[in-house]
Point group: C2
């Protein structure tokens, strides 16, 4: 069994968690094992106490990566939804995953900063702009765009369902899950 | 697919990691998916910066528990080898695992303190006794024995192989892995 990591990177509010949950649902409906590891889960359960320095962000990404790899090498599709702003950290995750003989797909969830700031679902961009929320990726902290992502999802327009369908098409086209774990009935909630 | 957590608790040097690695090897040889999550792995990768207060130890156990559950609910056998000195934390892990519809087996790896101190493979008991290593479980920090472990392995005498065989017999007798993930060829190194 050969699983995969789908690594969704992008700015806050771009749709990483929403899309990865939709993809996980679709995969489970097809009988695959899928787990969403998103930034909130990890901050709450694996990385409490870590801050927003580059070092802490890298540590955070390494922890997500380790858990995702443990799943992927056991035939599960691990959907990581984390800003993961630094290119080197994402590349390290890719190398380690390939060394474990699982697939790694970098999915760039791309949305214009102006659009994100205008939507501002959680009110974070406003706080970042007025300085009350420091170290905010894309505003006051760096985001290094993927140089050569496996897949880019534009989320300035369209619906999350359309983007999830794009991911599913990508998976099918690449025959990514030919060796993944599969069974008739997969039902459980996300953590 | 229904995996399991085998949770090895006991004092430092009692044989938790050694035995769990042997069990993992045997399981893999039978085609099961198995992962060892031991204290060192977790301290190095998931819990750097945590100390030895009760709160930090509990946080550590919760993190191991989360990773183990993610594996177990996907059909993998997660072998946790961690001192995990507090009964409440272990019980929490059990409850959460059962809620996820996976099996949970508490394995008490039991060895007399005098025997451990005499063996003192890593020289830690000497340091604990002379006070240069504080908060050492069983010496200067509490260890709460399991009240009703599913399995107790005495490691004062005998070989790790004999104890691993006991675990395998327990698994077979309880038909614990009837629904676990299985395949012909499982080969990968422990993290």
């Amino acid at each position: 069994m050969k699983g995969a990591i789908l690594w969704f990177t992008g700015l806050s509010g771009a749709g990483k968690t929403t899309i990865s949950r939709l993809v996980a649902e679709r995969l489970r409906r097809q009988g695959y094992r899928a787990e969403v590891l998103d930034g909130d889960l990890v901050r709450e359960h694996l990385s409490k106490g870590l801050g927003f320095s580059r070092e802490d962000r890298d540590t955070n990404v390494r922890r997500i990566g380790l858990v995702a790899r443990l799943l992927a090498r056991n035939g599960v599709v691990a959907l990581v939804a984390a800003i993961s702003p630094y290119r080197d950290a994402r590349e390290e995750a890719r190398r380690d995953t390939l060394a474990d003989k699982a697939h790694f797909v970098e999915v760039y969830v791309k949305c214009d900063l102006a659009t994100l700031a205008a939507r501002d679902v959680k009110g974070l961009y406003k706080k970042a702009a007025d300085g009350s929320l420091p170290n905010f990726t894309g505003v006051s902290d760096p985001y290094e765009e993927p140089a050569d992502p496996d897949l880019t999802l534009r989320t300035d327009a369209g619906t999350p369902d359309e983007r999830a369908a794009e991911v599913m098409e990508f998976i099918a086209r690449r025959r990514l899950l030919a060796d993944a774990a599969r069974e008739a009935d997969v039902r459980y909630p996300d953590y």
